[in-house]
């Protein structure tokens, strides 16, 4: 009797467990529950977008927050905006601009632009917005993007000049990140500016229910093309697998930042070149990697295609021998990735006179997509050509300290790079210039060209300088450029949207099938 009851009890427990887990093996394929859309409207007039987290604020001038930008990029506009595919600045609130002298830019404002509160855009709003973001007391987290701006002044009601500290050829791109706010509104609402956004964009915020959702609605008096989707709801789902579930259950129409392994499961996948990607920095200053032959050898030793295909599931492309992608200012179209040639690598290592000395590779893990696995793959490939690579993972803070301290620079260092200005200066000044905070490269000649290009106002000459620098740090390698990662979005069946190269989530460029 006792034995029996024990057996039955166990069976019951097992059955309970299976009934929990077993349903997911799906004897009944998913039927869309009827109750979900009670009175299914013929044409959906609203979509739901799942972000990775709740915006910290809706003041587009304050935080450096991608979740916020996903909303505010549809609510606010800059003087200029980026073309989502070519990454070239194009007119937005300014219809044209000219360089008056190397430190003065003049902008003609579009006429008849309305803010969501009914006010008309004037030069005062622009001057106010520029001076607000560079004001040290305001403590904007993105003020660093605008550190070259000295001031802004009104010429007349529809003309504004922006004065820089020195020549700054990257000004047009910077201005795509500087959102124009309504002076009167900001001055009258005080602290509430973080929750009551008033912009000129195609959508206006109608509700922010903290922790739950943000609702936006098409702005009828928008100056530009009328967007296709009338309304949208933003939800905040941090956990990636929950975003996937919500998309599969039909609760949301767009899920951002899916893992490559989830991509197979969603109704529709859309990708674009992403912003951040991993690379290996080589120590050009000192140690074993100071030998150019060794730096060339490691470049030949890495099978970049295998990493793109196997580690990132195909959601990555092989980097073009540089840290830029087509479309970036300074991209060198003549550079090709170093081919995967282990024999050549071994030969170079022999020529370099390498005797099995230990080579450090410092990485971190858990911060970026598959960072630990990436460093592991690199170190395996290097060991395969006979290098005695010692891979160490540091915790984030320690890794940062190492990254920013040239004295402690290891032979090789894993890092991740993103350039939201799409302009070579940001990358070269920080990673290649011998005085750059994250640089372990040391070449007076390269330094000179970087300094020169930074203030070169002729775009063609500037581009040429950057291409020369690109070639120099390719021939005498500063990095192992491996892959560029793609942003992966999950879309519902009827949502149509082509993701952008700048990772912005542009509601006004989306459409629903049947509209």
């Amino acid at each position: 009797m006792k034995v029996w009851s024990r057996v039955i009890a166990l069976l019951l427990a097992v059955v309970l467990g299976i009934s929990l887990a077993g349903c997911s093996s799906g004897q009944k394929p998913a039927e869309k529950p009827a109750e979900k859309q009670p009175e299914a409207p013929k044409v959906k007039d609203s979509i739901t977008i799942a972000l990775q987290g709740e915006p910290t604020s809706l003041d587009p001038q304050f935080p450096d927050d991608g979740n916020m930008r996903a909303v505010t990029d549809n609510v606010f506009e800059g003087l200029l905006e980026l073309d989502g595919q070519t990454l070239k600045p194009k007119p937005a609130l300014a219809t044209e601009y000219k360089v008056v002298n190397p430190t003065t830019w003049e902008f003609k404002l579009r006429s008849g632009v309305k803010f969501h509160n009914g006010e008309t855009l004037t030069a005062d709003d622009v001057v106010f917005s520029v001076t607000r973001i560079i004001d040290p007391k305001f403590k904007s987290q993105i003020a660093g993007n605008f550190s070259s701006i000295k001031t802004a002044k009104k010429v007349d009601d529809s003309t504004v000049q922006i004065i820089t500290n020195g020549p700054d050829p990257a000004m047009p791109v910077r201005l795509t990140l500087l959102k124009i706010m309504n002076k009167k509104h900001v001055e009258s609402v005080g602290d509430k500016v973080t929750t009551q956004p008033v912009g000129t964009g195609p959508y206006k915020v109608t509700e922010w229910n903290r922790g739950v959702h943000i609702l936006v609605e098409r702005f009828d008096q928008y100056w530009g093309n009328k967007p296709s989707i009338p309304k949208a709801k933003y939800r905040f789902i941090q956990e990636g697998s929950t975003r996937l579930s919500a998309l599969k259950a039909g609760e949301i129409d767009l899920a951002v930042n899916l893992l490559p392994e989830y991509a197979k499961e969603v109704p529709q996948v859309a990708t674009a070149e992403g912003l951040e990607f991993p690379f290996i920095r080589l120590n050009h200053f000192k140690g074993i990697m100071a030998n150019k032959l060794m730096r060339l050898a490691v470049n030949y030793a890495i099978d970049k295609e295998a990493i793109a295909k196997n580690l990132f599931g195909g959601y990555a492309t092989v980097a073009q021998g540089q840290l830029f992608k087509p479309g970036y200012v300074g991209f060198n179209p003549n550079l090709k990735p170093y081919p995967y040639d282990p024999e050549k690598a071994k030969e170079l290592i022999k020529q370099a006179g390498y005797k099995g000395e230990k080579i450090q590779l410092i990485a971190e893990r858990g911060r970026y997509l598959k960072d630990g696995e990436f460093a592991e793959a690199i170190s395996m490939m290097l060991r395969d050509v006979g290098l005695n690579v010692e891979l160490k993972y540091y915790d984030w803070q320690e890794w940062l300290k190492t990254l920013f301290n040239r004295e402690r620079a290891p032979d090789m260092m894993y890092s991740s790079h993103g350039n939201e200005m799409f302009d070579a200066d940001r990358t070269f000044s920080s990673l290649v210039h011998s005085k750059g905070p994250m640089s372990s490269y040391n070449s007076a000649e390269v330094d000179k060209k970087i300094d020169q290009a930074r203030t070169e106002m002729d775009p063609a000459k500037r581009q040429k300088l950057y291409e020369e620098i690109g070639q120099m740090i390719y021939d005498d390698p500063a990095f192992i450029c491996v892959v560029n990662l793609k942003d992966i979005y999950g879309l519902s069946k009827d949502l149509q949207w082509k993701p952008r190269q700048d990772s912005r989530i542009t509601l006004y460029e989306m459409k629903l099938a049947g509209q």
Binding site: K2, S5, R6, I8, A9, L10, L12, A13, L16, G17, L20, A21, C23, S24, K28, A30, E31, K32, P33, K36, G53, E54, T56, S57, D59, F62, P63, D64, P136, Q141, G144, S147, D191, T194, R210, G211, V212, R235, F236, I237, Q238, E239, S241, T242, S245, K248, A249, E251, Q397, L400, L403, F404, H417, G418, N419, E420, T427, S430, P437, M438
Partner: protein
């Protein structure tokens, strides 16, 4: 009684002060919010400037003094990311978590206590065996994983409930069930154990011998004595749910409570908001413990304050 409550409240203040100090020291010694707030590409000057703006370049003792002076006035400063008073932001997240925890706790108690009593009354029976096995499973399952499983089964495949979010019954059922599993397992085990213990006491035999009906024996005498153990355990579970379990569950279900807030805040190293959130949680847990201690008196007449 009043005197006891008063003393306990003083202890509470000491505990909260201790917790806040600990969090202050840990965050300021280990953390580096500047590196989290700025992009990797930021220059040394940008880093130094932000450090200055946040007041992190002052000596630690000065920062501590300012923090304590603010805390006395319940002013933790503005959140570095959200630019709103930190305490206000933390308090705004309390109701959602309370809703979740109280419902989950009620569900757990309603299931586990009756089952525990029945199991103890008929030890070795099928129900008893079933209960001891399942409660063990319940205690061992990580709620994060259970949550994902329930979402896939009941939201994606069957479509009965929403996968995540906040608002209607469709949103609350799954998180409540997920959160209830662990305390239900715990309380069922404790209920069974202490009830079994009481039913074997001599006073139970005496009560039966003098002809009291079985219901009175079990519910009036044995249960009353067995209750204190469950109460202690329940109080601890409630604290644990509020301070830890909810964070994982809120994460899976995108529930807007303070568990997920604390996780986000740690990731962003938003010190003022982190301090305020920890303060709120510490106050709530201290109050729960006080309530549990006071309620012992209801069940055990020997306990007087």
């Amino acid at each position: 009684m009043l005197r006891y409550v008063f003393t306990r409240l003083i202890y509470t203040v000491v505990v909260i002060l201790g917790v806040s100090l600990l969090v202050f020291v840990i965050t300021h010694v280990i953390g580096n919010p500047v590196n989290v707030m700025l992009p990797l590409q930021a220059s040394e000057e940008e880093r130094a400037q932000l450090k200055h703006q946040l007041g992190l370049d002052k000596p630690l003792s000065t920062q501590l003094k300012e923090f304590l002076a603010g805390m006395v006035r319940l002013d933790f400063g503005k959140s570095w990311w959200q630019q709103e008073p930190a305490l206000q932001l933390a308090l705004r997240r309390v109701p959602a978590t309370f809703q979740l925890v109280i419902m989950a706790f009620t569900v757990a108690a309603l299931i586990s206590i009756p089952l525990g009593i029945i199991a103890a009354y008929r030890p070795g029976s099928i129900i008893d065996r079933f209960l001891t096995t399942t409660s063990l499973v319940g205690v061992c399952l990580p709620s994060f994983w259970v949550g994902l499983l329930l979402v896939i089964t009941f939201a994606v495949k069957l479509g009965w409930f929403a996968t995540s979010g906040y608002g209607t019954y469709r949103h609350i059922v799954l998180p409540v069930v997920t959160l209830a599993i662990l305390p239900a397992g715990h309380m069922a085990q404790i209920m069974r154990f202490s009830m079994l213990d009481q039913l074997n006491q001599q006073y139970v035999t005496t009560a039966r011998a003098k002809g009291l009906d079985e219901a009175t024996v079990v519910f009036k005498h044995a249960l009353k004595n067995a209750a204190t153990a469950v109460l202690t355990m329940g109080g601890m579970d409630l604290g644990r749910m509020l301070a830890g379990e909810t964070a994982a569950v809120e994460m899976v279900y995108a529930w807007p409570g303070f568990g997920s807030l604390i996780l986000e805040t740690i990731a962003r190293q938003d010190f003022p908001l982190l301090q305020a959130s920890v303060f709120v949680v510490a106050v709530i847990i201290c109050l729960i413990n006080l309530a549990v201690d006071l309620s012992y008196g209801l069940f055990d007449p020997r306990i007087r304050y």
